[in-house]
């Protein structure tokens, strides 16, 4: 129940994200979710894309440094307290969140929370035991 995420190393320079999105666009790769973490010098662009292999290939060809890692996509109803309910379960079991980002899906009225855990397998187990919905890759349109 894990989702593959692509991380790209970027210097803080004008136009770098544009360049990446243009490369992906030209290869008809769709970005499903995206977040940028940065320091004053560099940033890491994290993405969930519909075609993981192709993304890795085209970005590497363009000289980008790319890493694939596993995240957990949690589905919650898009209403107040949705995120809190998930964090409460994790907190109780002392599951540390390395980082997270969220986006919401209009038609289903659901929010998707992307979590990076130190131990994703345990996190998945605990969340599922608490009746929290975890989205599989295909549900996110990832193949």
């Amino acid at each position: 129940m894990k989702t593959r995420q692509i991380s790209v190393f970027l210097e803080n320079k004008v136009g770098r994200i544009l360049e990446i999105t243009e490369i992906l666009g030209a290869h008809t790769i769709n970005i499903r979710a995206l977040s940028l973490a940065d320091t004053s010098d560099f940033g890491i662009l994290r993405m969930i894309v519909d075609d993981v292999e192709k993304t890795v290939k085209v970005l590497k060809e363009k000289g980008f440094i790319v890493k694939e890692s596993h995240v957990v996509a949690v589905e919650v109803p898009d209403k107040p307290g949705g995120l809190a309910a998930v964090l409460k379960v994790l907190g109780k079991e002392k599951i540390n969140v390395e980082y997270m980002y969220a986006f919401f899906e209009q038609p289903q009225n659901k929010a998707l929370l992307i979590f990076r855990f130190e131990n994703p397998d345990r996190a998945v187990q605990i969340l599922q035991e608490s009746g929290i919905n975890i989205a599989a890759e295909d549900a996110l349109g990832v193949h």
């Binding site: 210097e11 890491i44 440094i65 790319v66 890493k67």
Partner: protein, 432 residues
């Protein structure tokens, strides 16, 4: 195997006596016969009579490459032209070439020191030396040639270039020793491999590689591709050409023929002689050269000295592989910084490649050093804190190596400008 057991295994005391006597004679000759040295010594307030032991060398002034240029072509000759039997020059790419004159005794000396150097790689009279250093004004070809002659080995004076013929000769003649630049040896490997040659089946057993700086990584590559023992030979036209020193098979530093070429390492900024082990500029005094003797010649090569007996039995002073040139040296807040020191730190860190650039800026009145290190596949993380930890680790290790504060920044690969395969390591933006 040691070529001149007596001179290469001298005790420290005995060596100092010999060096002292030779220095005394050298200073007297230079003073009497070379107007440049007469006036340089007088200016320094030293008379030949003040030189009685090797430790007196520190009283003497340095000689620089500019001094040689000022006295071009024959102003540094200590003997009449009739006694000169050969002349060599540097390539002179940065101006007038540097001249080395040789008397018959100097050529004998060259044969002796080169015989010592070739012997370090195990060369004997039974060997076939394929000498791929250029023959001509360049010292490489003939220097090796004289050493090979002295040993009584069979020398093939093939000179540089014509790589396919080099490989044919290597196969057909059964060359056992190869002498050339380290980069040319890799080119030989490449061309040979393209021709489908298995170097394991050739008779090559060792190579004396020099005339350009190289690294231990390059050594590993040469050794594995050419299947031979790759040793570093050091020399320069000003001193004699190749033959100043050579590594032995234990690879613990270059054994300097220090009964002929007296080495010191100085702080290139202050001229102060540094203790053994400290990094600075190599200075050489030619104790026995007749035609073009040099007192405390500043080589501009950066290294450090290693005293004591080597596992091979030689007691000659050793020096580390050349780390760079003083021209590359930066002075940051009064501290000497060499790009190679930073490279050394980066190589030590697991996963890092030595792709870096040093940027010097003056902020207010202070020099600031920042080091850009290229990111790579092995190091990238999706977590900021891991990359920050890496930056911090690099920063701390460089700071502890250099003793000054630096900034470290991870950059995207290939952002560091490369020209002709050689990276531009230092960008100095200070306006002094």
């Amino acid at each position: 195997m040691i070529w001149n057991k007596e001179r290469e295994t001298l005790t420290d005391t005995k060596k100092k006596v010999i060096q002292g006597e030779l220095l005394k004679g050298l200073v007297q000759r230079a003073y009497d016969r070379i107007p440049f040295y007469k006036s340089a010594l007088e200016k320094a307030g030293v008379s030949p009579a003040d030189v009685n032991s090797i430790s007196d060398i520190q009283k003497l002034p340095f000689t620089t490459k500019n001094d040689l240029r000022d006295n071009y072509p024959f102003g540094m000759f200590a003997v009449p032209m009739d006694n000169i039997v050969e002349i060599h020059t540097s390539s002179g790419t940065t101006g007038k070439p540097v001249i080395g004159g040789y008397t018959k005794a100097d050529i004998d000396l060259w044969g002796e020191v080169m015989a010592r150097c070739l012997t370090t790689s195990g060369t004997t009279q039974n060997d076939i030396i394929q000498n791929a250093y250029g023959y001509g004004l360049f010292t490489g070809g003939l220097g090796v040639h004289y050493g090979a002659r002295r040993i009584g080995a069979n020398v093939i004076p093939i000179s540089g270039g014509n790589t396919k013929r080099q490989i044919m000769i290597m196969q057909d003649f059964g060359s056992t020793i190869i002498t050339c630049t380290p980069s040319y040896s890799l080119y030989l490997a490449e061309v040979g491999e393209e021709q489908g040659i298995d170097f394991k089946t050739l008779k090559l057993k060792a190579g004396n590689f020099g005339a350009e700086p190289w690294s231990d990584n390059m050594r590993k590559e040469i050794e594995s591709r050419l299947h031979l023992l790759a040793l570093d030979i050091y020399g320069l036209t000003e001193i004699i050409g190749p033959g100043v020193g050579n590594e032995c098979r234990y690879k613990t530093g270059i054994h300097i023929c220090d009964d002929h070429f007296y080495p010191e390492v100085i702080n290139p900024h202050t001229g102060e002689v540094l203790p053994y082990g400290e990094i600075g500029e190599l200075v050489i005094t030619t104790l026995t050269r007749e035609a073009t003797p040099l007192i405390r010649y500043r080589t501009r090569d950066i290294t450090s000295l290693i005293p004591g007996e080597c596992t091979c039995g030689r007691t000659s002073m050793r020096m580390k592989r050349i780390m760079g040139r003083t021209d590359d040296m930066l002075i940051i807040r009064g501290v000497n910084v060499f790009p190679s020191q930073i490279e050394e730190v980066l190589i030590r860190i697991e996963g890092l490649e030595p792709h870096y650039q040093i940027i010097v800026e003056r902020v207010g009145n202070l020099d600031e050093l920042s080091i850009h290190v290229e990111m790579n596949e092995r190091l990238i993380s999706d977590e900021i804190k891991e990359l920050e930890t890496l930056e911090q680790q690099i920063k701390e290790e460089i700071e502890s190596m250099l003793g000054i504060k630096v900034g470290v920044q991870l950059v995207e690969p290939k952002t560091i400008v490369r020209s002709e395969g050689k990276a531009k390591r230092v960008i100095d933006r200070r306006e002094l």
